[in-house]
């Protein structure tokens, strides 16, 4: 659906709804945006996705009609970003008391990435953008209709469609080199749901049965002129080149799912809440690859001039998760809750790959003709998680909340290694268990204008499944706010996190501190000022092994960042002004500066009409890699029409 069609549909729906209504309120803002970018437009667009053109900034409409002869009691429509923007949204609510309740959502997101330094082997040579870029669009449509809302039994039906489509650039490793391919993806996910919610004798619950179907196809072809590949060096004395590469992939998946939930009171005191969801996803895929050129394969120890490969895959992925919690008020001010949640997920995958290598020549120069290989592989993994928690929450006085909890998290993971994956022995499969014991304690105090809360969590694990898992972790969070006067408010937050795994060969540690705050001053009803600051200091260290010589070295990563923000809002007669500036500066492993300054001026022309101008200046500097730097100005002019 084009955005123009969408905008017309929305406006027609709004007009139809409002024409029939008793009461109507709306607020519409639309205009034009201009862009002026110097430097890396790719980085600017990857980070902001801003576009130039006509757009509906926002529409809010509420129509009500409580006469018995009308079709609805209440219609609510919200839309934003229609037209030349990268994000659009429409939300519709249509209700008639005790008859139906309809919810409709539409979202569109244009996703774009063309970064110069993401997985780009030629970034250091200043060649941009990188070899992995995309310019795709996601569309999301969701509709849910509940019948007889407010009655003891409420049937519901729902439908969701998600599409993801568009071009991209990626790489393909074949014949001991990587080649750039142009990709065209088209994916559609349809989901139907039917269910019922009930409420009787203090017990509420519901069951939903759904079916999800995914169909995706992708076609990839060698980008003209890039047949030389990434490697500039010959392999075993021969240049690896491609004259044609083509790859087609089609996948379909089905996933029936069921979810159920229930909550209620037993004996007027003990509350229980339970939920359960299960799904069994199955996918089938077929792929066909063909290549012509001059290639090398160390797997078959031959040079070859062409490849035709077909692959059939099938995967099954059953899973479930359930949760039960029981809450008991021990005293009027003291609650005990016991909760247990468990989840299970497993995968059984099979793949059958036949490869035909044409015109093969062994490394000694003997011509051996065509060669076929067949790979039949099976993979499997299984993961179980169980979380048991005992929690106490007390409110001894209205101004004090105290809580504490003890929990155990158990992980059980089994991974079967795929034979073809084996490159070096170890680490590719096995059974792993991990138990984490967690203690949490916290308090929140509210005394007049001041509020303060603190929470401490300590985790203690017996094993690590992957190297980045912690064995010990402590986290302290603090939060405070003080409304010094009706015109002055201060908020401050802080977090300290320390995690480690002292196992020999891993020697991991993370030390992270974040703190920040905001100050809000409203000296008069027509003036408000806000200032904010956020500071991040994070250091992590872990031992890694260099593949080329198996030597060990520390993997160090550091963030040392500061974000400053100041904003002012001024309302003077017909003028409404907002202005602000944000400066984000990071040192450490990935240093950069990002400055943003904006000004928004709104003028009320009449009770129903207004005009608005918006300016924004944005500047990005990535010190060690100036190819990514940019400076951008964005201007927009909007007209506003409202009826309240």
């Amino acid at each position: 659906m084009t955005t123009r069609m969408l905008a017309m549909t929305v406006l027609l729906a709004a007009a139809a709804g409002s024409a029939a209504s008793q009461q109507l309120q709306f607020d519409l803002s639309a205009g034009y945006q201009w862009l002026d970018v110097t430097g890396s437009e790719e980085v600017f667009r990857s980070q902001t996705r801003e576009k130039e053109g006509l757009f509906v900034d926002s529409l809010r409409l509420v129509a009500t009609d409580h006469r018995s002869s009308r079709l609805f009691d209440r219609l609510r429509l919200e839309a934003a970003g229609l037209g030349e923007t990268s994000d659009s949204r429409v939300h519709l609510e249509l209700d008639r008391a005790r008859a139906f309740s309809l919810r409709l959502d539409y979202r569109r997101a244009e996703v774009f990435s063309a970064l110069p330094d993401l997985a780009n082997p030629f970034a250091a040579a200043g060649i941009a953008p990188g070899q992995h870029t995309f310019d795709r669009q996601r569309d999301f449509f969701d509709l849910e209709l509940s019948l007889l809302p407010g009655r003891w039994l409420t049937p519901l039906v729902g439908y969701t469609r998600t599409t993801y489509a568009g071009p991209a650039r990626t790489t393909y490793h074949v014949g001991n080199d990587e080649f750039q391919l142009a990709s065209d993806l088209d994916e559609t996910v349809d989901e139907f749901r039917i269910g019922v919610q009930f409420e009787a004798a203090g017990v509420r619950g519901g069951v939903i049965q759904g079916w999800r179907e995914t169909d995706a196809s992708e076609k990839l072809t060698l980008i003209p002129g890039l047949g030389a590949g990434n490697s500039t060096q010959p392999t075993l004395g021969r240049d690896v080149t491609a004259t044609s590469l083509e790859r087609t992939v089609s996948t379909s998946a089905t996933a029936p799912f069921t979810n159920a939930y229930v909550s209620g009171l037993v004996g007027g005191r003990v509350r229980f809440l339970g939920s359960f969801a299960t799904t069994n996803a199955e996918s089938e895929s077929s792929e066909f690859d063909s290549a012509l050129g001059q290639f090398v394969s160390f797997d078959i120890r031959r040079f070859f001039l062409g490849l035709a490969e077909t692959a059939q895959g099938r995967a099954e992925n059953p899973s479930w998760r359930g949760q039960l919690r029981i809450e008991v008020p021990l005293l009027a001010w003291l609650d005990l809750s016991v909760a247990y949640s468990a989840s299970h997920r497993e995968l059984d995958g099979r793949s059958f790959v036949t490869s035909q290598y044409f015109d093969t020549v062994n490394f000694s120069g003997v011509e051996l003709g065509d060669l076929s290989t067949v790979l039949e592989a099976r993979t499997a993994w299984e993961r179980d998680e169980g979380v048991a928690e005992l929690r106490l929450a007390a409110r001894p006085w209205p101004w004090l909340h105290v809580w504490g909890a003890a929990a155990t998290v158990d992980h059980d993971v089994t991974v079967s290694p795929a034979a073809a994956e084996v490159v070096l022995p170890g680490g590719q499969g096995g059974s792993y268990t991990r138990a984490i014991h967690r203690l949490t304690g916290g308090a929140a105090v509210e005394l007049g204008p001041a509020a303060l809360s603190a929470e401490w969590t300590a985790d203690d694990a017996d094993e690590a499944v992957v190297r980045t898992d912690f064995l010990d972790r402590d986290r302290l969070r603090l939060r405070g706010s003080y409304k010094i006067a009706s015109w002055l408010r201060v908020t401050a937050v802080g977090e300290q996190l320390e995690a480690s795994n002292v196992t020999a060969g891993i020697d991991a540690s993370v030390d992270s501190t974040r703190w920040g705050g905001e100050l809000e001053i409203v000296p008069t009803p027509w003036l408000s000022l806000r200032g904010g600051m956020n500071v991040v200091q994070s250091d992590s260290r872990l031992t890694v092994r260099r593949p080329q010589d198996f030597g060990l070295e520390p993997s160090l990563y550091a963030e040392d960042g500061e974000e400053l923000e100041a904003a002012v809002a001024l309302a003077l007669g017909r003028f409404d002004l907002q202005a602000g500036t944000t400066r984000t500066t990071y040192d450490g492993t990935a240093p950069f500066d990002l400055d943003r300054t904006f000004l928004r001026l709104e003028l009320t022309l009449t009770d129903a009409l207004g005009a608005c101008g918006h300016l924004e200046h944005r500047e990005y500097r990535q010190a060690p890699f100036p190819v990514a730097d940019y400076e951008a100005n964005r201007y927009s002019l909007l007209l506003r029409w409202n009826r309240k």
Binding site: P149, G150, N259, T589
Partner: protein, 297 residues
Amino acid sequence: MKSFAHSIVALSLPVLLALGSGSRASGDETPNLCADCHEDVVAAFAANPHATAGGGNATDRCLACHRGGNEHAAAGGDKALVTIPRGTAGAAACLSCHTGRGMNPIDPKGVHGERGIACDTCHAMHPAGIPLEALLRQAGSSACVSCHPHARGEFARPYTHPMHASVVGNRAAGLQCASCHNPHGGRGDDSLKRDAAGELVCLSCHSDKRGPFVYTHPAQVTGSCMSCHQPHGSVNAAMLTRARVQQLCLECHTGTPATTLGSQPPSFHDLRSPRYQNCTTCHVAIHGSNTSPLLAR
């Protein structure tokens, strides 16, 4: 597209049936007795989602929250006789209907409820003008970032999800905190929303990463998307947790000790060459593949 149109028609039928039968079933033109004194409030309430919720007539809908309203009216407006739900105590009126439903329920013992943050901290039952979505007091995620200012800082980093103007930037259609988090839910990962199949909210948009794949990257088995990505915003491209791809990969793919999951790259991966510094140049299908155990396509 044809099946899409059929689906719309099929799903529209129950709506039309409800509309056709609704004129007799749900019509309520009984005068709201509260309007005798509270005319403005009652008029504005027509635009409120609660105006069509529950049973009874228009007066009953006021009394559902304002217990003692009849006595209050009979006593000539004695305020002491009528309940005005406010703060933690007032939350009980909200929770008598809004609790325990669906995959993302309103949980009275959720992270906010436990800290004494009541419904009316974020929601306004009788707003002036056009009510905001979900009857919020402030537009978008303003209420969230006023208590969580560090989240605003995270979204000010260069690589983030496209957020609503109330968090950062100027986008009216962007994501809000509640797009991914259930503010009425639990703590940490338990605050993340799940879809109707019980899967994490990330896959609702990133459906191409859902699979199931014949070969899944074990990071998805042992952890979640957050093992490699920082969804609130990152200083690194693709919202990764590390600036260089090789660093991110090697932290798991180092065979010391031999008891952890994560294979060791063979020695021809010479990291001094730019070709091997960017693992995903070859291992492009890093989220999962149906063909390549090495996730190379």
